[in-house]
């Protein structure tokens, strides 16, 4: 409950934030803090300097440009739930955001934080891979983009390097005849996922992404958006999920199949309209 000593700064611009991150060894960006502060309370991880991104208003913006939904990394989950842009462009994001933790956490927790933490049970890593999101990362030398598929590197590890900042997540708007689904099994209603699966269906094919079964989201591309092919793809993936108190590896493997099928079913139904 009681944190180690830490230094705190609240820069006013993104450039300043990036500079501070680069200048200070052991500096971490602080977004909503709904994971980071908790981890610091356990003293499990202890950043030396927190760079609070709260004052960077531009990182909170949600907008649509052309066929792309642009989410500022500091957009809160509540913003995403309430956003009419999200509702029009890619409603699955709001639908999933609505089931993350609870109101209080959604009020503070950000989409950028959710993906940068990359806890294997988090909602957005598999979803963003499924929808083919692109992540924009800013460093002292400038900006680069990383496809979501390459963004998640390991447990608690992403492509965001030391001294860098995730600034924007770009999600293609849902096209006609396409559909998204999300399914899984949680511990209690809206609780931590034991296994989850996100699916997008377009033109008869599907992308299914499994969460909680490996260090990073597992992408399965299906030629045919069928429940049976989803089941087969999960079997073929020879998953070796971790065991814990909530699920054995075997049970997780089974749930991966069930979740994939359910997500594909939902996505297919929606693709049909």
């Amino acid at each position: 409950m009681l944190l180690r000593e830490v230094e705190y700064a609240r820069p006013g611009t993104i450039d300043e934030a990036v500079r501070l991150l680069a200048e200070h060894d052991g500096a971490r960006p602080l977004a909503g803090g709904q994971t980071l502060v908790n981890v610091m309370k356990q003293r499990a991880a202890a950043p030396d300097v927190l760079i609070d991104l709260a004052a960077l208003g531009e990182l909170r913006e949600i907008s649509v440009s052309g066929d792309t939904l642009e989410l500022g990394a500091m957009a809160t989950l509540t913003q995403i739930v309430d956003s009419s842009e999200v509702d029009v462009a890619r409603p699955i994001l709001a639908e999933v955001a609505r089931t993350v933790a609870d109101v209080q956490v959604r009020n503070r927790g950000t989409i950028g934080g959710n993906v940068c933490v990359n806890d294997p049970t988090n909602h957005f890593p598999p979803l963003l891979v499924a929808v083919g999101a692109t992540m924009t990362v800013r460093g002292i030398g400038g900006e680069r983009t990383v496809p979501a598929e390459e963004f998640f590197v390991g447990v608690y590890l992403t492509a965001v390097g030391e001294g860098e900042l995730l600034t924007r997540i770009s999600v293609p708007a849902r096209g006609p005849g396409s559909g998204d689904g999300f399914a899984g099994v949680t511990i209690g209603a809206h609780g931590t996922y034991i296994v989850n699966a996100a699916a997008t269906v377009a033109d008869g094919s599907a992308r299914v992404v499994l969460g909680c079964v490996d260090a990073v989201p597992v992408l399965l591309e299906l030629d045919q958006a069928h429940e049976a092919s989803a089941r087969k793809a999960v079997e073929a993936a020879s998953l070796e999920p971790p065991s814990d108190v909530h699920a054995s590896a075997e049970y997780r493997r089974h749930l991966a199949g069930v979740s994939a099928v359910r997500a594909v079913r939902q996505a297919t139904e929606r693709a049909r309209g």
């Binding site: 409950m1 180690r4 003293r43 209690g188 814990d244 108190v245 909530h246 054995s248």
Partner: protein, 817 residues
């Protein structure tokens, strides 16, 4: 004796009209609590206080090689430290209740030489701020040498790894209870149903407020004041004073508002002794707040119990005549309140049933897990789960209807009061009627229709019943059935009631309320007796040893407030009433029989104009008493100790009145299991309660709701699971999932009232419940899985999705007949 019970359901509510008693008046506690004006222990501040942080063992079992506090002491703002070595010098081990070998265990306030469970405190540090105390705790270097770890109760019996060298065995207590004639019942049975193994898991009520205290030491008097949330200070003092080598008069416990306790705040004496030593050593008030992870790893788990080699004697017509079982109770690293759990279950030996021949071979062992402590439904819940599992497994195995088999075997209303094979007396009740109401509430008639509907949606529907008793008012004499040398028997509770100068009615309690609304119900009782409104009655918040209203067993536990707590209030109020009448008679120059107390006045029954307000009575005695005759010396200040009568237990036959009142709770539920995931959803739920006279029906219903939510959590999620290294895997609310608002289905409640013939107000204790929700959910999951073609018996009390799924894959307990 027994009036026709009244029935209430959600829709319609009728209550006994007896003045204030029986009315759901607004609680006196609420106004402060809804404004954040309650005072909980962590809200108490003192000048110069220091914050304490415990250094805890990361290992489940290890030898402590060395502890170095130097670096911690060098940190600026650190006031001091304490280690096990100092504790061993300045205190004696806590009193143990067991006979040998458990009685030889040495339990100190901090680990001495060896740690026996993850999270066990090995040292403590006190500093100027909370954060600094934790910083300093990190600087205390402890070197451990890990030892082999024991996490399984059955394994413990082998004594290959022994936790306590002083005991020489992991067995704390062992004994056989043999009532009736099991062998004969078995010989005469038409079926003997055998169940190899059932397991009741570890969980606890995890009150939202963790434990803690602020302790002040008065050097001049040698007295400690402990501002805390201990729920049983009477017994806490009995543990602490001898350990601290002082008298009970030197320990003052003060509680105010308490954020729930459920039995989990009974075994706080080890930490409190450390605080007492630190307060004395450092010469300043010290404060300790337990954090959730500490609470989960090292405070209070419920007893884990494994039932082996169960045999049940059943007649051809479905009558069950007895059962035999071997029980292994795992109490964790230290017995503390144990081995009382080895006997408390015997208050409900036959459960709700008329079994006459029961044999229980009971063993309690230590393992490298958190010590246990009483937990809502303490020890009886485990046993009631056994009886309900037996009934459902027998019914399923023999193809009997679960409702019919219950009704056939329940103790009948006309048999009340009913003496159990071990000499307990079920005072009143009508179990079959409670069951009928519960069935009605969950729409039992339409069950098969709903089953088909669920199947059409790919779900397996199941129905289950949990019939339980909440035995209230502990006879401490039952401890003599475990250890005949113990000098404990009976029970008691105290209260005072006084009338002050301006007519204030002030009540103090020995009980330690934690949400049960004692201030309100005590005021209702006093108001009815002395004739005023509950608003006029000021019931002091919490417990204070200096109130002089505590007795040896003071506290709030064992579902006994309605009996002992209110019994004490009633006794004191009646003494006050009698004196007020005498005083009024003297002043009004009338006979006492002519006086009535009503509307805050003492007046002549036949001439209400001739009245003295309470203020007048209070002023006469306290401030204007010169005219009273010398031989008449009223005090208007009365203390009463309620001492229930149990009689003496028979230590040979192991029989006796172990408790006094038996509230009934019959639960019924309908669940839907998802065969693809093993997830269970509760789609209908009803709890029917019969606790005799309900002083405050709304509070009673609230307790029923709360006990049900605990049971639902325990049945589906809450589980303290250890890995083989003794690491607790569910040390926080992430992994130890307690139900939130979306997890609890709408609960239907019903009630009947079978007044207790033995309780002072006809009211039975009922707060604990008997874990009815666990029983009925296990029962319903079994029904659901069997309806899906899985020939399984639910063998564990906790059934999260993975276990249900595993059962569907074919793993189950062995049952034969």
């Amino acid at each position: 004796m027994t009036e026709a019970p009244t029935i209430t359901t959600e829709q319609q509510e009728t209550t006994l009209q007896k003045g204030w008693i029986g009315q759901s008046i607004p609680r006196k506690e609420d106004k402060r609590l809804v404004q954040g004006q309650g005072t909980f222990f962590d809200d108490v501040r003192r000048h110069g206080m220091g914050y304490v942080h415990f250094v805890r063992s990361p290992y489940a079992h290890a030898r402590i090689v060395s502890i170095d506090v130097t670096a911690a002491l060098e940190l600026e703002g650190v006031y001091g430290t304490i280690t096990g070595d100092e504790v061993a010098i300045h205190t004696d081990p806590f009193f143990e209740m067991s006979v040998e070998p458990g009685g030889n265990i040495k339990d100190y306030a901090l680990a001495v030489g060896r740690v026996r469970h993850m999270g066990e405190p090995v040292a403590a540090v006190c500093a100027a701020t909370r954060e600094l105390a934790r910083d300093a705790a990190e600087l205390i270097e402890v070197e451990y040498e890990p030892l082999p770890v024991l996490v399984d109760g059955e394994e413990a019996l082998k004594d290959e790894v022994v936790l306590h060298d002083d005991a020489g065995s992991n067995v704390v207590w062992q004994g056989v209870f043999d009532w009736g004639d099991w062998e004969q019942a078995k010989a005469e049975a038409d079926h003997v149903v055998k169940i190899d193994r059932l397991h009741f898991h570890r969980f606890s009520s995890t009150p939202l407020e963790c434990a803690g205290a602020l302790v002040e030491y008065d050097k001049g008097t040698g007295e400690w004041t402990i501002h805390c949330n201990h729920q049983m200070p009477g017994v806490g003092a009995i543990w602490m004073a001898p350990a601290l080598r002082t008298g009970i008069d030197k320990l003052r416990f003060v509680t105010q508002d308490i954020g729930g306790a459920f039995g989990n705040k009974i075994c706080l004496h080890p930490q409190f002794v450390v605080l007492c030593l630190l307060a004395r050593k450092l010469g300043r008030p010290v404060q300790w707040t337990e954090w959730r992870t500490d609470q989960h790893t090292a405070n209070a788990h419920g007893n884990e119990r494994t039932f082996l080699d169960i045999e049940v004697a059943v007649k051809a017509d479905g009558e069950m005549t007895g059962f035999s079982v071997r029980a292994i109770d795992d109490c964790g690293a230290f017995p503390r309140y144990e081995p009382l759990g080895c006997i408390i279950w015997a208050q409900v030996t036959p459960g709700c049933y008329a079994w006459r021949n029961i044999r229980v071979d009971f063993t309690q062992v230590c393992t490298n897990k958190s010590p246990v402590s009483p937990n809502r439904g303490y020890s009886r819940m485990q046993h009631l789960w056994l009886t309900e599992r037996i009934v459902d497994i027998v019914a399923t195995g023999l193809g009997l209807d679960p409702v019919e088999v219950r009704k056939r075997n329940y103790v009948k209303a006309e048999q009340m009061p009913y003496e159990t094979p071990n000499g307990c007396v079920y005072d009143s009740g009508d179990y079959a009627r409670c069951l009928d109401i519960a069935l009605d509430l969950v729409g039992y008639d339409s069950l098969e229709e709903r089953r088909r509907d669920a199947e059409s949606r790919g779900k397996l529907l199941g129905f289950g019943i949990g019939s339980t008793l909440d035995s209230g008012t502990n006879n401490f004499g039952q401890s003599q059935l475990l250890n005949p040398d113990l000098q404990f028997s009976g029970n008691n509770e105290a209260a005072t009631v006084k009338l002050d100068i301006f007519g204030e009615v002030v009540v103090t309690l020995g009980t330690v309320p934690q949400g049960q609304g004692h201030e309100t119900t005590a005021a209702q009782v006093v108001a009815d007796i002395i004739g005023c409104s509950p608003e006029q009655v000021n019931v002091r918040r919490g417990h204070d040893t200096w109130f002089n209203s505590s007795a040896g067993f003071s506290g709030t536990y064992a579902s006994q407030f309605a009996f002992t707590g209110l019994g004490a209030v009633k006794g004191a109020a009646e003494l006050l009433r009698d004196e007020m009448i005498q005083l009024a008679a003297a002043v009004l120059q009338a006979e006492p029989a002519q006086i009535e107390l009503a509307d805050g006045q003492a007046r002549l029954k036949d001439n209400p104009e001739a009245a003295i307000p309470f203020m007048g009575l209070g002023a006469i005695v306290n401030a204007n008493n010169a005219f009273l005759p010398p031989e008449f010396n009223p005090t208007l200040n009365h203390r009463y100790v309620c001492r229930p009568h149990f009689g003496v237990v028979d230590t040979e036959a192991k029989t006796g009145q172990l408790t006094l009142t038996y509230a009934t709770q019959v639960h019924a539920c309908v669940v839907e299991v998802d065969p693809d995931t093993g997830l269970t959803e509760i789609v209908d739920y009803a709890a029917v309660d019969d606790c005799g006279v309900r002083i405050h029906p709304q509070i009673v219903e609230g307790q029923v709701h709360g006990a049900t939510a605990h049971a639902i959590g325990a049945a589906l999620h809450e589980n303290f699971v250890y890995d083989e290294e003794g690491t607790l895997l569910t040390a926080n609310f992430y992994d130890y999932h307690v139900p939130h608002a979306m997890d609890i289905p709408p609960l239907k409640t019903g009630a009947i009232e079978s007044p207790s013939p033995v309780a002072p107000l006809g009211a039975k204790g009922m707060g604990e419940g008997g874990g009815g929700g666990i029983h009925c959910i296990c029962s319903a999951i079994q029904d659901a899985l069997r309806s899906g073609g899985h020939a399984v018996y639910v063998y564990d009390s906790c059934n999260p999705s993975h276990r249900v799924w595993e059962m569907m894959q074919g793993s189950t307990a062995e049952v034969s007949r």
